[in-house]
């Protein structure tokens, strides 16, 4: 579905991604894990077109999306739920959801998808007229995920969805991501919360200093010695 082939990414003159290749198959949950600064978010930003690879290519269902204008990416079926939620804080919950469905089929089905989002997150329904900036951290993350769902994605990318949330909320968010996958959306997730991420991931890649160092199924990585010592603290 999504193929990343040998990409190099730079910030100015500084290379941060070194020859990374990986793929995400239909209906999988794939995780990118690694420490701060390993290049996880950079990878997602490159897929969504905010950054461009200097070398290599990114194919989504055969389309070379590294050449697509960033604002057109959502029409190919990729939705990026960015790190730090990036909500439109001075707009209401409902307006934020509208912003997630500006194009094509997502726009025609806006009412239906919104009902689904409210069913997954009843809290958002209660607060639909409230400004996004007045929501709690957990509610904001729900809204960010909901806003992503409004785009009817084929592939939904999550950047640190558990960041800054209490353990109970983290569990909720991971359950939602599992549910999204069960409803047929493919998921690419970037996380520092390695243990829980690997538990739901079909496959995962470990990034270190801008390179992929280990890959395998979620389960095999949970038992990998290097992953255990470096990320799980056991």
């Amino acid at each position: 579905m999504l193929e990343i082939k040998n990409i190099d990414v730079f910030y100015g003159d500084v290379q941060v991604i070194w020859d990374i290749s990986f793929e995400v198959k239909q209906s999988e949950i794939v995780a990118l894990i690694g420490a701060n600064g390993a290049g996880k978010s950079t990878t997602l930003k490159t897929i969504s077109g905010i950054l461009r690879p200097k070398k290599g290519e990114i194919l989504f269902n055969g389309i070379a999306i590294h050449k697509v204008e960033p604002y057109k990416l959502i029409e190919t079926g990729i939705v990026h739920v960015p790190e730090g939620r990036r909500l439109f804080v001075e707009m209401t919950v409902e307006e934020n959801l509208d912003m997630g469905s500006l194009k094509g089929e997502a726009k025609t089905d806006r009412g239906k998808t919104r009902a689904l989002v409210y069913e997954i997150f009843p809290r958002l329904l209660e607060r639909k007229k409230q400004l996004a900036g007045t929501l709690s951290g957990g509610e904001q993350q729900m809204l960010a995920i909901g806003r992503g769902l409004m785009g009817k994605p084929k592939l939904q990318m999550f950047d640190e969805p558990s960041l800054g949330l209490s353990p109970i909320l983290v569990k909720d968010i991971f359950n939602v991501i599992k549910r999204i996958k069960e409803e047929g959306t493919t998921v690419l997730i970037v996380e520092q919360n390695v243990k829980q991420t690997l538990a739901i991931a079909d496959r995962a890649y470990v990034l270190e200093n801008g390179r992929i160092v280990i890959q395998g199924t979620g389960e095999s990585l949970l038992n990998n010695e290097h992953v255990k010592t470096a990320y799980l603290g056991v």
């Binding site: 959502i74 804080v89 500006l102 007045t134």
Partner: protein, 307 residues
């Protein structure tokens, strides 16, 4: 009683003036919010719109209030072009100064006001409309009113049209996808991009709408003001002062700031002297910078978001 009458009359004229100021500042605020650029040619765009209305009146006898419907669309298209062919390309240039676009607007202001001087001479012009000195009086409606107040007809008409335009803008910004995209882009550009907003298109539309607002303000000012090529600078100043009072890039702030400045200037003119209005403008400008650096918008934001 005469004192009270004077005060109320001053308040009313200030309010009417403030409504027009708000319209100028609204355009500036929209552009500032989305592009993070202070449009220092704002008043000069208003000057262009005023000349359009002036010539339409002189050659075809079209009332300046009707010219709104000609000048505003023309300025909208002009704005799309300026953004697309001048401002957007400049954004991509690396330079030691981060605000190339602001410098470009300064250049545009110079070009426009000088071209206007070349083509239209520096003469002061005005449109002698028939209703220029008509007014409504309070005693016409309320025979035994203890105070006598008057409402100048062109001022009131201008104010009412300004309010209608503001309401139309509000509906556009809150009810349409394009309007929401404009607000979203001003709040978080990258996130808007991820949502599929064509940011360059939004920039063009925003600049166009900003010019529509200032064009309307120009047409509304024409029957009650005079026109000359260098008038733009003064109104750019006013727009900028209001932006500081209201809070940079905030549309609500622009409306409140416009009314505050209108009333303040009117009060200075009445109680201190006509010539002191610009001095009043700058004292409130400095006061806003010192005592309320975020402008009215910072108070509104605090109340809305609770932080």
């Amino acid at each position: 009683m005469a004192q009270l009458e004077l005060f109320l009359q001053t308040l009313i004229s200030g309010f009417l003036l403030g409504g027009l100021y708000a319209l100028i500042a609204l355009g500036m605020a929209l552009i500032m919010g989305v592009m993070r650029v202070i449009n220092l040619a704002h008043g000069d765009f208003m000057m262009i719109a005023m000349y359009i209305a002036y010539w339409l009146f002189t050659f075809f006898g079209i009332d300046p209030y009707v010219s709104v419907f000609i000048a505003a669309p023309a300025m909208f298209l002009f704005g799309l072009g300026i953004q697309k062919y001048l401002l957007t390309p400049v954004m991509k240039v690396d330079s030691i100064l981060p605000h190339n676009q602001v410098i470009l607007t300064v250049g545009l202001a110079m070009v426009f006001s000088n071209l206007a001087t070349v083509f239209f001479t520096g003469d002061y012009r005005s449109t002698p409309v028939s209703y220029a000195s008509s007014a409504w009086y309070l005693t016409d409606f309320w025979k035994n009113s203890p105070v006598e107040l008057s409402l100048s007809m062109p001022w009131t008409l201008s104010f009412i049209i300004a309010v209608m335009i503001t309401i139309a803008l509000w509906i556009f910004l809150t009810k349409t996808d394009t309007g929401k995209s404009i607000r979203a882009t001003s709040q978080d550009l990258d996130a808007a991009l991820l949502m599929g907003v064509n940011v360059n298109w939004v920039r063009m539309v925003t600049f166009g709408i900003g010019l529509v607002l200032v064009a309307v303000a120009g047409c509304l000012f024409l029957p009650i003001y005079y026109l000359y090529p260098a008038l733009g600078k003064q109104f750019t100043n006013i727009g900028f002062v209001i932006a500081v009072i209201g809070g940079m890039g905030s549309t609500d702030g622009a409306i409140i700031g416009g009314l505050i400045l209108g009333i303040f200037e009117s009060m200075t003119a009445t109680y201190i002297g006509m010539g002191w209005a610009p001095a009043g403008r700058f004292s409130i400008f400095v006061a806003a910078l010192v005592f309320l650096p975020g402008g009215v918008a910072s108070i509104l934001r605090k109340r809305r978001l609770g932080k």
